[in-house]
Amino acid sequence: MQDKANFAFLIERYNSKLLRYIKRITNVSLEEAEDILQDSFINTYINLNDFDRDLKFSSWIYRITRNQVINNFRKNKIRPQGNYIDIENDFLENIAAELEIEKNIDLGILGKNVNEILSQVEEKYREVLVLKFLEDKDYKEISDILKKPMGTIATLINRGKKQFKQELIKLNIRL
């Protein structure tokens, strides 16, 4: 009973974050996102004994959610595509600083176009950019979520940043 109470507490803690994450990496409706999330929580519950204490719990539950998204899209034979980014100023400052364009760009303009830019970035890069700049995960966490080596994550982030910058230029956003 105590375990179930604890698990209910975990759901409360991660519900909003994970729902936002699903919306960021997919273009499903809110209802569908909630269904995916419910399945993710149930899967997390079933697999609680598999939780690896070397990992942060958040990394593990993000991984399960991402896998649930992939399973859902395999079932529907559509690739996940994020189309919803609720822009926060922190994110814009973060990414502008990372791209070393913070002095040259109007964050307002970047904010207006960020959804379009991210939709043009390849899926494998968009996935890491979302985790790094929107979910604010570090390399180790991203590595644990995506089950890829840290070196690979670093490469993907670097390439993703380059592609993001190129898309900025393509959209004629003056730097």
């Binding site: 209910a8 507490f9 409360e12 729902l19 929580f41 590595s143 080596p149």
Partner: protein
């Protein structure tokens, strides 16, 4: 506005209603250990394959290619143990797959896992080779798999090419000062003219029974020996060696006596290894092999 508490309650209700239960811990442990076990077994098999490759390469006598068809490269292609290379590669892939699927396998890069598996297999290969397992593995594989032959058998057959100046087999008697009796590995009996042999080569006649002779055919079953050297088997399995010796002794019952009686006639000589190496390429009276 998302109501987290409401969502939590509805999910917990669903868990209750559907009687969702936790998967037992042992099932996850079993899965993880299975991947580790399969990965380790694949490494062991990779080690076995690499040991046979080492055994083959060490015993290949690369300097005899000159007497066989084509170039050194074609000789290498002729003796390479392809089946074992395929095995080796296959089990490295299997080891990689299993290690990658362990709990923390994703943290390692492809090249790290593959290189580690490769190095571990090669080290294991040397250990197996050292203890004579590679010979036993190759021999057993050659006997039990259709289309495969043990490497030593293949090598013995390959080295019996008298028309190309190459003969390998067993000395059956050394009665005369300038000739000895010989049976090649294909079972043909020869008289070998040994008067062209230099003394260090002649000394091998006293010490070894299985030899490789370089020379030329003089008549139907008379072969002129220009150089001679023992046919060593490096990394030979003790049990198989014993069996081989017993088989040879049964075939040639007088061999030891003949050699022993002959030894008493000759003065033991000290062999200069450096000179022997030079002599390997020395040809009979300037004749070049075909």
């Amino acid at each position: 506005m998302i109501d987290d508490k409401k969502t939590a309650n509805s999910i917990m209700e669903k868990i209750e209603k559907d009687h969702v239960v936790l998967k037992p811990r042992w099932s996850f442990l079993l899965k993880n250990y299975t991947f580790w076990t399969l990965g380790s077994v694949a490494l062991l098999v990779g080690g076995a394959a690499s040991s046979v490759i080492i055994f083959t390469l060490v015993n290949s006598d690369f300097d005899v290619y000159r007497y066989l068809n084509g170039s050194g490269l074609s000789y290498i292609f002729m003796i390479l143990p392809y089946a074992w290379f395929i095995f080796f590669t296959l089990f490295i892939v299997v080891a990689y797959y299993n290690i990658k699927h362990t709990k923390h396998g994703y943290r390692y890069k492809l090249r790290t896992v593959v290189l580690t598996a490769l190095v571990a297999s090669v080290i294991l290969g040397f250990v197996f080779y050292y203890f004579g397992f590679s010979h036993a593995i190759d021999s057993s594989f050659g006997k039990h798999f259709p289309g495969q032959k043990p490497f030593l058998e293949k090598k013995q057959q390959m080295l019996v090419q008298p028309e190309k100046g190459l003969l390998a087999g067993t000395i059956t008697s050394v009665d005369e000062e300038d000739s000895f009796e010989f049976e090649d590995f294909k079972g043909k009996k020869w008289t070998i003219a040994s008067n062209y042999l230099q003394d260090p080569h002649k000394s091998f006649l006293e010490k070894f029974s299985d030899v490789i002779i370089v020379g030329e055919i003089m008549e139907n079953n008379i072969f002129k020996a220009c150089s001679l050297r023992p046919m060593h088997v490096m990394g030979e399995n003790g049990k198989l060696k014993k069996e081989r010796m017993e088989k040879r002794d049964n075939r040639l019952p007088n061999k030891e006596n003949i050699l022993r009686s002959n030894n008493s006639k000759r003065q033991p000589q000290k062999i200069d290894e450096r000179r022997l190496l030079q002599m390997r390429s020395t040809e009979c009276g300037g004749d070049q092999p075909q």
